[in-house]
Symmetry: C2
Subunit: 306 residues, 2 copies
Amino acid sequence: MINRLIDNIKKTNAPIVVGLDPMLSYIPEHITQKAYAEYGETLKGAAEAIFEYNKGIVDAIYDIIPAVKPQVAMYEQFGIEGMIAFKKTVDYCKDKGLVVIGDIKRGDIGSTSQAYAVGHLGRVKVGNNVYSGFDEDFVTVNPYLGTDGIKPFVDVCKEEKKGIFILVKTSNPSSGEFQDRLIDGRPLYEYVGEQVAKWGEEVMGNGYSYVGAVVGATYPEQGKILRKVMPKSFILVPGYGAQGGKGKDLVHYFNEDGLGAIVNSSRGIICAYKQEAYAKFGSLNYADASRQATIDMINDINSARG
Amino acid sequence: MINRLIDNIKKTNAPIVVGLDPMLSYIPEHITQKAYAEYGETLKGAAEAIFEYNKGIVDAIYDIIPAVKPQVAMYEQFGIEGMIAFKKTVDYCKDKGLVVIGDIKRGDIGSTSQAYAVGHLGRVKVGNNVYSGFDEDFVTVNPYLGTDGIKPFVDVCKEEKKGIFILVKTSNPSSGEFQDRLIDGRPLYEYVGEQVAKWGEEVMGNGYSYVGAVVGATYPEQGKILRKVMPKSFILVPGYGAQGGKGKDLVHYFNEDGLGAIVNSSRGIICAYKQEAYAKFGSLNYADASRQATIDMINDINSARG
C-alpha cells in the first residue's frame, strides 16, 4: 500500500492528504436539512448528512489528491450510525481510487492490538468465512505501550500489504509535555522515532517502509531531525493550515527524492467555504471551494519545495 | 460515577472488574452454533454469539461484582456488527446495575478528543435533539498527546459526572520501552502519574477523583510508588491472572481506607471453563465456571489484603 500511496502522489504531484473530519457545524444547511427531512434530527440523520457532505467533497477533489484521512472520532461521536457513515466514507473513497488513512490512533497490547489491526486493516474469520470490518489502507497508531502494542499491527500489515503511521511528535501545543522530555539529553520523540525506523525494517516496500510516522507541521525543527532518524519512513504531517503550519515549514520533512512526507489538511479544505478567501463560492458550492483550497494548498507546498 | 463505583465495591466487598473481552475461540459451541444457525457464519452471527456469551456471564456474576470492562477492540474487529454487540453489552450491564468501564484507550487532541469523549461518555447534539452514542460510565484514555488530549475528556466528565482511567504504567512486558525511560532520574510513568493527579484535582468525588489511572498488576513496585504519587486517583489494575499478577502483589495498590484500586481479570474469568481448575463445569455451564472463578479471585485479593 505504501507503493500505491507513492504512485498516487507521483500521479497527482500532490504530497497531500485531505482530512475528512466532519463536524455538523461545517455542513451546509441544504445537506443537513435534506438528511433531517428524511431521517429526522436523529443519529441516523446526522450520519447521513456527514456522508453526503463527504461525498460532495470527494467528488470534487478525488482526481487531484492521492489520499484521504477520515478521523474516526468525528464519526464515533454519533455512535453506531456514525460508524456506518465512517465505513461508507472509507468504501466510497477507495472506489474513487484514493488511499484511505484511517486516523484511529488505536493502541493496546498483544491480542487486543491484533484485534484493532484485524478490524481496521485485516480480515477476521467467522466459521469458514473471512470478513473485513472497516478495511482502511493505513491507520494511525499510538506507541505509548511499546513494541507489544505495535508488533501485531506490523504483522497484519505484512500479511495484507497495508501500513501504519505511528505517533511520534504530534502537532498540538502540549505535545511536548511527555514527548519532549529529555532522556540522556535526547527527547522521547527521538527514541520513538528510532523504534519506528526499527519496526519498519522488516516491512519494506519499494524504498519506503509500510511503517510511517506522524510528525506535526507545527514543529519544523523536530521534523528536520526526525526525517534523518527515520529515513525510510513516510511522515504523515498534521497541523498544516488551520493549526498554523505553512508550506515553507515543511521542506525538511521530505527526502531528496522529493518523497517521504504527506501533509494533511482537514478543516482548511473541507470547511473552506466558511473562510473569507473562499466565501465567494457560497455554501451551495462548498465542494468547489474545497477544490480551490486543495489546489492552493498543493501550490503552497510545491512552490516551497522549489 | 466514581462515587457509584465505590458504592458498588463496598456493597460487593469486591474491588474487582471483569473484562468482557470475548474472542470467538472462547465461546462455547452451543452458543456459536445457535447464532450461526440464525444469522449464518457472518459478522452479524459472530456479534450475536458474542453478545449471548457475555449475557450468560453477566447473568451469572452481576450480583457479586461492582463493574465490568468491555474491551472495544474485541468488538471493533467485527466491524459495525461488532460495535452493535459492544453497545448492547454496555446497555445490558448498565441495566444490571454494573458500572461499565469502556476499555477504549482513545486519545487525540482538542475537538477530536472531545468527539471521543462525547461519543463514549457524553451527549451529542443533532438539531434540537441530544443523543448518547455509546454511553459508558468510564473510559480508558492514552496520555501520549498531553494535556490537550486529556482536558476535553475531563470537561465531559465534569458535565456528565463520569470518569476516565489514564494509562500510566501498562501491564505488558515491553511497557518499559518508553514508560520507564528516566527523565532527570525519574521514569516517565511518574511524570504521567503526577499529571493524572493534577488533572484530577478539579473533578473530585467523595474522596476520589473522576480521573483515575491504569497501572499493571505485573509491576507491583511501580504500583506502590504510583499509589503515593496519585493518592486520590483510583487505580485500574490489569494483568491479574492470565498475565501473571497475583493478589499478594496488589496490596500496595490500595490506600489505607481499603479503597483506591479495582483489579481486572478478563480471560481468567470469562474463559474459566477452559482452565483445568474449572473444567468440571463443562462448556454448557461456562457461566457457572465464570462465577466460581470470580469468587476465587475476590477471595485471593481480599485474603491478601488481610
